[in-house]
């Protein structure tokens, strides 16, 4: 499929990404930062689609935007303590942090632009129809041989299992009714202002 209006969509998605990132680190309320992060992640999924990485884009929307961000929002709303709007959002050392961030950005862009002759300036159009199948053959292998990353895949699933068990054990440390009782004790708290 021939790409249509590629540079327009790239600039649209890239500006959405950068704008979302800016909003994440500057919003006063944590809920608004989470919303901005969702916008950023969806825009990055669009960028993945433009890079012919359809499976990674689908996985990002499903796992990152649909799962991790829901987790973040649940965590924010479960522990909302009615922060007054006059509390400062930035640490006292922000006057060091912000310039160092800008310096890091300048350094990275300088490195990329200067090193441009080191990598070939082409963009190979990968096959679109078989992206998932090719990733599957890398992860799981063809009949007759295992894939290159099967071991890493199994280790990753084990890691996820350990993380889930650890989080469950930590949360239910105060008994099985832990989360529900904690939530019920917060019923008269103010709702998160967004």
């Amino acid at each position: 499929m021939t790409p249509v209006a590629t540079s327009f969509f790239f600039y649209l998605l890239a500006s959405a990404t950068v704008l979302g990132g800016l909003l994440v680190i500057t919003c006063r309320s944590a809920v608004r930062s989470a919303l901005a992060l969702i916008v950023t992640l969806l825009a990055v999924a669009g960028l993945y689609l433009m890079l012919y990485a359809s499976f990674v884009a689908g996985a990002e929307v499903l796992v990152y935007a649909g799962g991790i961000m829901v987790l973040f929002l649940l965590a924010i709303m479960f522990t909302w303590t009615g922060v007054s709007p006059n509390e400062p959002r930035f640490l006292g050392v922000a006057w060091i942090g912000i310039p160092s961030g800008c310096a890091l950005l300048a350094f990275l862009i300088f490195a990329f632009v200067k090193g441009r002759e080191l990598f070939p300036d082409r963009m190979i159009a990968l096959g679109e129809e078989s992206n998932t199948q090719q990733i599957a053959s890398l992860l799981y292998g063809e009949p007759g041989r295992t894939g290159s990353y099967t071991f890493a895949f199994e280790i990753a699933s084990l890691l996820l299992l350990v993380a889930i068990l650890g989080a469950v054990v930590k949360v239910s440390g105060r008994g099985v009714a832990g989360p529900v009782s904690a939530v019920e004790s917060q019923e008269t708290r103010p709702s998160p202002g967004i």
Binding site: M1, V31, V61, G66, L74, M77, V183, S191
Partner: protein
């Protein structure tokens, strides 16, 4: 422009895959109109005709400073529901587009519905709205685990055709059901049936029925959405019904064979084709008859008046006559346009009929009558999900893989034996 309209008509690709933007736009407009009409009809069926929230009503939220963020929950719900329609197919090339990760995209987009629920709890000065929204959102996320697992089982079944590779694209899933000659509902019976039932249960739990999540004694039982009114409430309701239709369409595509008519491969003689193509006309004839009976019996205060019923009955009668004409005229194979029109009408009809049957199941679960019967199951929905649905879906996934592997190795063994002897 007429050229680009006509040039697409004989193509076998969806408009998105063919790069044809005009037809993609036409499909988008039609899908939008169809889903809006269906949502209005669903609301009309579930509640009485005149109780929709007035768009101009002011709610407690807009009395304060009107903030942009209070639109986010309704709009995100709408966007998440409608974005799924971009890949749902009504025919072998009738979809807005056919991404080759269609099923993954739909699962991901439908999980954005949870965000709408969570954000609707952020209304200020409302006791208990936050709690209800959080628990409802957590329940929705919880029920996505069995839904995802059985969807993977269905996709696993697509890899059992001759080419040996499965596909995630929605059109590919229905074509795999066509190639294998059976809907995935009946494949490896009863594995497909169990998977479908788990999917439907998860689907019902996903449709934001807050009063089933929290115990009935709480005063804040009605849910966070009651804080909204006016246009926002209307959009929330619309998004809820659109999401219901989207998830039903996904279930139809994954399990019930999409646009395929029943017994598409077992009874494939042209005479059977003609008989099955009369079904759309008969359905609308039946609907006309029901509406005429309702007209004759007259209207009660909560039902629409006689004239409205009569008008709708006449409209359905006209549609029935039109469908009969198409079914009869499309039989002769030399009239290419009429034959393809009959095919398209049949595809759309079978798809819509299956979605309608599924939606009626969901509506039945949601009705107040059934709450007393099934209420005690759904009130402990967390227990239902973790102890029953997740083990069953894991078992379905493992059994599908094992039986499918046995199938394939058995076929390969037979081929080897045939080659050797």
């Amino acid at each position: 422009m007429l050229n680009s309209l006509m040039s697409y008509l004989g193509s076998t690709l969806s408009p998105g895959a063919a790069g044809n933007q005009l037809w993609a736009l036409i499909y988008v407009v039609f899908v939008f109109m169809g889903v809006s009409a269906a949502s209005i009809a669903l609301y009309w069926i579930e509640h009485s005709a005149g109780s929709a929230p007035c768009p101009a009503a002011a709610d407690g939220i807009s009395n304060r400073e009107t903030r942009f963020v209070f639109w986010i929950a309704p709009i995100m719900g709408l966007l998440a529901a409608f974005a799924a329609y971009a890949v749902i197919p009504f025919g072998p090339s009738q979809a807005v587009t056919d991404v080759n990760i269609g099923a993954l995209l739909i699962l991901g987009v439908l999980s954005l519905n949870v965000l709408s629920i969570l954000l609707s709890g952020c209304v200020p000065n409302s006791r208990g709205a936050l709690l209800t929204a959080l628990l409802s959102g957590a329940r929705m996320v919880l029920f996505q685990v069995p839904i995802g697992l059985v969807a993977v089982a269905a996709i696993l079944m697509t890899s059992l055709n001759e080419s040996g590779t499965g596909t995630l694209s929605m059109i590919g899933i229905v074509q795999a059901q066509e190639d294998q000659g059976t809907w995935f509902l009946f494949k490896f019976f009863p594995i497909g049936l169990i998977a479908f039932v788990v999917f439907v249960i998860g689907m019902v739990a996903q449709t934001k029925r807050e009063r089933l999540a929290v115990a009935a004694e709480r005063p804040s039982d009605a849910g966070a959405q009651n804080e909204y009114d006016g246009l926002r409430r209307l959009l929330l309701i619309f998004g809820e019904y659109a999401a219901m239709i989207a998830v039903s369409s996904v279930a139809v595509t994954l399990w019930l064979g999409g646009w395929l008519r029943p017994f598409a491969s077992q009874l494939s003689a042209p005479s059977w084709e003609n008989i099955f193509s009369l079904f759309p006309g008969f359905t609308f004839l039946l609907l006309t008859a029901i509406l005429l009976v309702m007209t004759v019996r007259g209207g009660s205060p909560s039902r629409p008046r006689r004239t409205q019923l009569a008008v709708v009955a006449a409209l359905f009668g006209l549609i029935a006559a039109l469908l009969f004409m198409i079914a009869v005229a499309g039989r002769s194979s030399d009239r290419h346009i009429l034959a393809s029109l009959r095919e398209n009408v049949n595809y759309l009809y079978w798809f819509a009929a299956k979605v309608a049957i599924l939606l009626s199941i969901i509506l039945y679960y949601r009705s107040a009558r059934s709450r007393n019967r099934f209420g005690r199951y759904f009130d402990q929905s967390t227990r239902l999900a973790w102890k029953i649905l997740v083990p069953i879906s894991l078992a379905v996934l493992a059994l599908t893989a094992i039986v499918g592997l046995k199938h394939e190795t058995w076929d390969q063994a037979k081929q080897l034996l045939r080659m050797r002897s």
